[in-house]
């Protein structure tokens, strides 16, 4: 991909940053007040990442920045120049779902599906952190992601299955 030209037209206040989004290098003009969440949803059309509160209180907007789970609504896009961003659209490899995606389907770990992208990205981040070992730890460390449909027990089961410690109490 040609990274020398801008992928979307610039306007007056825009500052150009580089981001790798789901493996694709992008050069993007962003206004300094644009959040990463709005950049993804409005400018890039990646609406898989959800807006549930815009205040960092619900976790629906969770994405992975350089492998770490982050609330994209509290992240100004300009502050992440050069970062590697992974969203729910980038979890599967082609038609092959990420093990967490499959586990979420198998355990019915969602209903309306709106918090699901955030839960998935958060769970990917959680596994990478390597801190959660038990059911209680998964519950605690997944508590930044609200699910109003109340699928928590199924979410925890799905995460534990992928963690490979499904029998841990």
């Amino acid at each position: 991909m040609d990274t020398a030209t801008l992928d979307t037209p610039a306007d007056t206040y825009a500052i150009t940053i580089g981001l790798t989004i789901n493996g694709q290098q992008r050069r993007l003009p962003v206004e300094p007040w644009t959040t990463l969440l709005d950049l993804l949803r409005e400018q890039e059309g990646l609406t898989g990442t959800k807006k549930g509160c815009d205040h960092g209180q619900c976790g629906a907007c969770t994405v992975l920045i350089d492998g770490k789970r982050v609330n994209s609504c509290l992240t100004l896009a300009v502050s992440r120049d050069g970062a590697d961003v992974r969203t729910v659209e980038g979890l599967a490899e082609g038609d092959r779902l990420h093990p967490l995606q499959q586990a979420f389907i198998d355990h019915d770990a969602f209903q309306c599906g709106y918090c699901t992208p955030g839960q998935l990205c958060s769970a990917v981040g959680l596994l990478a952190e390597g801190k959660a070992k038990s059911r209680d730890e998964v519950r605690e460390m997944m508590s930044g992601n609200i699910c109003r449909c109340g699928a928590y027990t199924n979410i925890t089961d799905a995460v534990l299955e992928v963690l490979g410690e499904g029998s841990v109490k």
Partner: protein, 748 residues
């Protein structure tokens, strides 16, 4: 021929919309971006009552990118008559019209809509719109409003007046055991994860596509058509994915009206999304006060029930709920009466939230029942069984089925209830007191007239469709299973379509009638396809099926197979080819039929549940944890045990929220909800939720609805908070009669 295991009714099929939801491909209302779309940002009013004296939007208009600011002063005309603004579910009263005039009816009322090329410009400019008000005295204090409670002269359509039996006052005067308690439930907000949003696509030919967060595409379509005087044929409403509803999307909310107002004014595509704060400026579960007086013999047999309640509404509409009927229906007691009224405040109108009326009235009543069990020195489960009513005790009618006794037995067994110590404060683990509580849940088994279409293509693919919605309930999956069951096609060959006002007529998704009603309609449409297929098969050379009628054949793996001679079969494709058909289509309407109507009058139809809760309470700090819930549900036939279980889990979780966390607090001086965000309005998080065991007891009921299905969307929440409150008493010896039971109330 080879037959595979049939995945039909009763199979735990994974959600058919699962892949779309886990890959981010499912698109919700705010996730469409038509060409030249304007972003609308709502300016919320600052006072609770009064009028707007002036709007200065000069600064806001100076923000680069701002295109227009819509207020009551420059808005386009809409329908004149009040009733043109009514929606299908509006309660009696005068519907709120956004940006109609200078009057302010509630705090947070939209007073302007900023339209700009970018979201950020609209948001910024909205902060610069200067609105001057003339405030009038308001009341948003529920306790004060209750003093002026009243029974609206015009009742809401689905309101059921409590029926009196016997002479409860006299029975109370004579009762050796008497309990009289007053309960309170805080205002709750639905808070679906997706904020209310509308994207309107303005088409070149003047037609309009509305992507709306609603639980009823056709309700929104009819409302917009009527309010804006635009033919319904020009308005198509789409809601294939809804990020949670819980009742908040039953009525069209003000965002959709504002979007339409702006789109018609600008003749452009517009998107309006509420902020999370604005999600606290519309529908909510009403505040409730309930006084329960019970009389009983010394042996615990109930002799009198007086059940009185008041719920909050607005000044402009009378929202009513069925709060006091549940207790009267559920318990055998010769003398009983109820009294219900509403109390108006200067807020937005309250409305239906998951199990409206029952989640309030049954839950609080079950807390009173627990107190009487204590007074009678009976185990609370034994007390409920002693006063068990086989029939609907208020209406004197039998139930089509009531397996509550079985639910109690199976739930108690799974929970280990027999080990419970009778007295409170007798169970302890370290620094935590342990308590066990039980409650009963009850909801209506509703059926609503619904149409569905089915279309079988020559290649054997089937599409089933209805205008209804899947708000996370699993309706797509249930439709697929019923189609699979009826026509013997594998789920992969079936596409279920919902969420489009162009599809066959369906009511809003609510009241737990979706699976029973849409399911029945889909089954009928598929049966109609089956009959047409069989007729087509008669055209196949040699007539392999002879003169077989519909009852003589089965539909298996894309073939019509003779029941008596499995070797005789015709594939769907061959049948259609022989008859020269490229596709077979059918549309049917499920009404419940005449026998259903007669049965409706003679029998009561309800779901029941038994909820057992374990809590652990830190004795020093008062922190409560719900460590275990067993919810045993009697809800007729279960189409999909996997998604059904999820429905109950979700209801239970919201019930735990009701018990411990959820409360929208009013600043009565400002007339405004204070904790209008997800940090201060706590909905249960993962760490709040521990083990939940869901049991479906066997309850065959061919009479209740055509498929024997009773619906599951609401029953999980009903009574759950009561079981938790009763467990907290068992742990601590303290009766807290105001929900949620927060730490401060336990420390008093």
């Amino acid at each position: 021929m080879a037959t595979t295991a049939r995945i039909g009714i009763g199979s735990p099929l994974s959600r058919v919309d699962g892949i779309a939801k886990v890959t981010g491909q499912a698109r919700y209302a705010a996730e469409h971006k038509p060409k030249d779309m304007l972003y609308g940002f709502i300016v919320s009013g600052a006072i609770a009552k009064g009028r707007i004296t002036g709007i200065d939007d000069r600064k806001a208009r100076g923000v680069p990118g701002v295109v227009e600011i819509v207020t009551h002063e420059n808005r386009p005309r809409t329908a004149w008559l009040d009733r043109s603004h009514q929606d299908q579910l509006g309660p009696p009263g005068s519907t709120f019209r956004p940006l109609y005039d200078d009057k302010i009816l509630f705090s947070g009322q939209p007073v302007a809509l900023v339209l700009a090329d970018t979201f950020e410009a609209a948001r910024h400019a909205a902060t610069l719109v200067n609105v001057a008000y003339e405030a009038e005295a308001h009341n948003t204090d529920f306790d004060k409003a209750v003093a002026e409670r009243y029974m609206p002269s015009k009742k809401r359509d689905n309101y059921i007046a409590p029926k009196k039996r016997g002479d409860p006052e006299k029975a109370l005067a004579k009762a050796p055991l008497k309990v009289e308690s007053q309960f309170h439930l805080a205002v709750e907000h639905h808070n679906p994860m997706e904020m209310h949003a509308t994207t309107i696509e303005w088409m070149d030919d003047g037609s309009i596509t509305v992507h709306d967060k609603t639980q009823g595409s056709q309700n929104t379509q009819a409302y917009l058509s009527s309010a804006f005087g635009i033919s319904a044929s020009k308005i198509r409403v789409l809601n294939p994915y809804i990020g949670g509803g819980f009742g908040s999307g039953l009525r069209p909310q003000y965002h959709v009206y504002l979007a339409m107002l702006a789109a018609t004014m600008m003749e452009r595509s517009v998107r309006v999304v509420m902020t999370r704060q604005q999600m606290f400026t519309h529908v909510h579960r009403p505040a409730a006060e309930q006084r329960v007086t019970l009389g009983a013999e010394m042996d615990g047999r109930l002799t009198a029930i007086v059940n009185e309640a008041t719920t909050s509404t607005s000044r402009y509409e009378d929202n009513m709920e069925n709060v006091v009927t549940w207790g009267l229906m559920n318990y055998a007691c010769p003398n009983a009466s109820g009294d219900y009224a509403v109390a108006a405040m200067d807020t937005a109108t309250s409305g239906d939230m998951r199990a409206p009326g029952a989640a309030t009235g049954m839950t609080l009543f079950e807390m009173a029942i627990d107190e009487m069990a204590e007074a009678a020195r009976l185990d609370p489960l034994a007390f409920r069984l002693l006063n068990y009513s086989e029939d609907d005790a208020m209406n004197g009618t039998p139930f089509t089925s009531k397996a509550l006794r079985e639910a109690f037995a199976e739930g108690a067994e799974a929970f280990g209830w027999a080990e419970r110590k009778a007295e409170p404060r007798q169970m302890r683990e370290g620094r935590e007191l342990v308590g066990w509580g039980v409650a009963t849940g009850m909801w209506d088994a509703l059926f609503s007239k619904t149409s569905a279409g089915a279309k079988l293509s020559a290649n054997g693919d089937l599409e089933v469709s209805s205008a209804g919605s899947d708000i996370g309930t699993g309706t797509y999956t249930v439709m697929t299973q019923i189609a699979t069951d009826t026509l013997g096609l594998s789920p992969e060959r079936i596409t279920a379509r919902l969420g489009d006002s162009d599809l066959p007529t369906s009511p809003v998704e609510g009241g737990s009638w979706g699976a029973a009603s849409t399911g029945a309609a889909v089954q009928m449409a598929c049966q109609s396809i089956a009959a047409k297929l069989l007729k087509a098969a008669g055209k196949v050379d040699g007539k392999p099926l002879g003169s077989a009628g519909i009852d003589d054949v089965e539909f298996v793996d894309g073939h019509i197979v003779s029941k008596t001679n499995p070797a005789a079969s015709v594939s769907f494709t061959d049948a259609m080819r022989a008859a020269g058909l490229n596709s077979i289509e059918a549309e049917e309407t499920a009404t419940g039929g005449i026998s259903g109507m007669i049965s409706q009058m003679r029998k009561s139809r309800n779901t029941h549940s038994a909820i057992f809760a374990e809590v652990k309470v830190d004795e020093e700090l008062g922190v409560v944890r719900v460590t275990r819930i067993v919810c045993a549900v009697a809800a007729g036939r279960i189409i999909n045990p996997k998604t059904a279980r999820s429905q109950i889990l979700g209801g239970v979780v919201m019930g735990i929220g009701m018990a411990l966390h959820e409360e929208t607090m009013m600043d009565t001086k400002l007339g405004r909800f204070m904790n209008h965000n997800l940090a201060e309005y706590h909905v249960p998080a993962n760490a709040d939720i521990d083990a939940i065991d869901v049991i479906f007891v066997d309850e065959p009921d061919p009479e209740v609805t055509p498929l024997g299905v009773k619906g599951l969307g609401e029953i999980g929440i009903v009574g759950t908070a009561g079981a938790v409150a009763n467990a907290i008493w068992h742990a601590t010896g303290k009766r807290v009669r105001s929900l949620p039971i927060t730490i401060d109330k336990l420390q008093d």
